[in-house]
């Protein structure tokens, strides 16, 4: 769709052309099929565990885990970097590689989705994820990762962030209310979550939704905390909003009460002007 000023805006439509699917296979020759197959294989989510974990998984033992903490998005994963990973002793036990249309050539795949394990308390596993996981990969990611973990007594906590513009509310929200947390939890989650439930008609999509769905159908205790923030990019105030989410885990995870400003400065980079809209 072209707007008044001539720029082309892609319009999202829920209508699907039902003929697409048939045409694809009718016109497809062997080469097309080969390319399609290769693309599908390339889009597979791959998990790379450390040799020690690999051996355990091969022998049929799943990763013993009582708390799995997944941080999706820049604020959530940087919160873990600043408040958790600096103050404790954590070992990298693996990473996941995800290739899709938004993957950039030359980007460091190994640093975009990393799994850490607590050195003193190996049943606590953390995953920091900053890359984009496409819609067709989210289900697979959740299934592959959670299948590596032992389900008995497993508690999953997902931290994710979202712009405040995505939050729907009957009352007008003024800027002073942000950032704030909302939660969603599975039926098997016991104990009250640390914040209010995400009100309808707000919904959760993306990888946190895939993880929550997996936990719900497999009766794993899980909770997702979503932080709505009005700052575009990572900032220390939004990161701090995640603190209550890990309060329940204070026996196993010690939060750095007062991270050094150097650590914060390293994480909260001054954003490069990516668009020339406001110079």
């Amino acid at each position: 769709m072209a707007t008044f000023f001539g720029e082309v805006v892609t319009v999202y439509s829920r209508a699907v052309d039902e003929d697409d699917d048939d045409e694809e296979t009718l016109d497809e020759d062997e080469e097309d099929a080969q390319i399609r197959k290769e693309l599908e294989e390339k889009r597979e989510v791959c998990l790379h565990w450390s040799p020690e974990v690999c051996d355990a998984l091969k022998s049929g033992d799943k990763l013993t885990c009582s708390h799995f903490i997944l941080a999706v998005g820049h604020n959530a994963s940087r919160f873990l970097s600043v408040y958790v990973l600096t103050s404790e002793k954590w070992d990298t036990v693996g990473h996941a590689s995800v290739w899709n249309e938004r993957s950039r050539a030359g980007s460091d795949e190994q640093s975009e989705c990393i799994f850490y394990r607590h050195r003193d308390e190996p049943s606590v596993v953390i995953c920091q994820l900053t890359c984009y996981v496409a819609e067709d990969q989210q289900f697979q990611w959740a299934e592959k990762v959670l299948d590596c973990l032992q389900h008995k007594d497993l508690h999953v906590t997902v931290l994710s962030d979202s712009p405040m513009a995505d939050y729907k509310s009957a009352d007008y929200l003024c800027g002073s209310s942000a950032p704030f947390l909302r939660s969603l939890h599975t039926t098997t989650f016991n104990g009250p979550p640390v914040c209010r439930a995400l009100e309808q008609p707000n919904i959760l999509s993306g990888l946190p939704a895939a993880v929550l769905n997996h936990c719900q159908v497999h009766r794993i205790s899980a909770v997702v905390y979503r932080c709505f923030s009005d700052v575009n990019g990572a900032d220390s105030v939004t990161m701090e909003a995640f603190k209550p989410a890990l309060a329940k885990l204070r026996h196993s995870i010690k939060l750095d009460a007062c991270p050094s400003s150097d650590a914060l400065r390293k994480i909260v980079r001054t954003r490069d002007p990516q668009s020339n809209l406001y110079i």
């Binding site: 819609e135 929200l173 959760l204």
Partner: protein, 262 residues
């Protein structure tokens, strides 16, 4: 695949399955929402598959604070054996490259569960109608030979119009001029599901409405009323009360407006 949310797996044998197709204006999904909300159907399980884009939310049919915090997923099954009814709700689009697999998965589940018939609520682009489709009501139906054998008279009594087939090639005057094809533009998996069901002898009917994207609440009310004309799910007393709009339909046009603008 289907995973029960109860302690014992539900029995679907001889129930009627009502399901939406993700299509123009989400009319089918809205109609199914009305059905679940009005009849207060209990959830019996999930259709857990990678063919549907993941989404999650708190109870879309919440009636108060007590049941508001209940988690609901992208594709769920509700059932009321006393009404002989099962309802599948699909809340997010099908992953594009997996629509064929999704259709196969649905059909094999339908066959394995032993539903007596499957009714697909769908919609199609209003702007792509041909001359004969423009006339009269925007509501149409399609039925597979298998279901026509058992309930053929019902459609005559209801006075519904079957979806017209379009000429295969416009303007042809030779022998091929009579050839027609079935077209449901914007109908998602509707056409594929219907043709697969015809081939595999599954009793299935499609109830569809020609519509455009926009506020599709009136379309959903119209479609679900047509369904009720056939199934008589609401008793006469509750028909007066009509359909119950679920709480998740709030704020269809966005959040509240800043008071400072006045």
């Amino acid at each position: 695949m289907f995973i029960t949310s109860q302690n014992s797996p539900p029995v679907f044998k001889d129930l009627t399955l009502v399901m939406p197709a993700v299509a123009v204006g989400n009319v089918g999904q809205l109609a199914v929402d009305l059905l679940i909300s009005t009849l207060s159907l209990p959830r019996v399980g999930y259709l857990h598959t990678d063919c549907v884009i993941p989404m999650a939310g708190n109870n879309p049919y919440a009636t108060g604070q007590d049941d508001a915090g209940e988690l609901h997923t992208a594709s769920e099954v509700y059932a009321a054996p006393e009404l002989k009814l099962a309802v599948l709700q699909i809340r997010s689009p099908v992953v594009k490259s997996k629509s064929r697999r999704f259709r196969q998965l649905l059909l094999s589940w339908i066959k394995a569960s032993g539903f007596s018939r499957t009714l697909v609520l769908s919609s199609s682009h209003a702007y792509q109608r041909d001359d004969q489709q423009l006339r009269g009501t925007p509501f149409r139906y399609l039925v597979t030979p298998s279901l026509l054998r058992s309930s053929g008279d019902a459609f005559k009594e209801l006075g519904w119009r079957e979806l017209e087939r379009l000429p295969l090639c416009l303007g042809r005057l030779d022998a091929g001029a009579d050839e027609t094809k079935l077209a449901i533009p914007g109908g998602g998996i509707t056409k594929g599901l219907y043709t697969d069901s015809c081939r595999e002898d599954v009793p299935l009917a499609v109830l569809l409405l020609f519509c455009s994207e926009g506020d599709n609440v009136p379309d959903a009310l119209s479609l679900v009323s047509h369904l009720d004309d056939w199934l008589h799910l609401l008793d006469d007393a509750s028909r007066e009360v009509k359909w119950k709009i679920p709480t998740s339909w709030n704020l269809l046009f966005g959040s509240g407006i800043p008071p400072a603008i006045f």
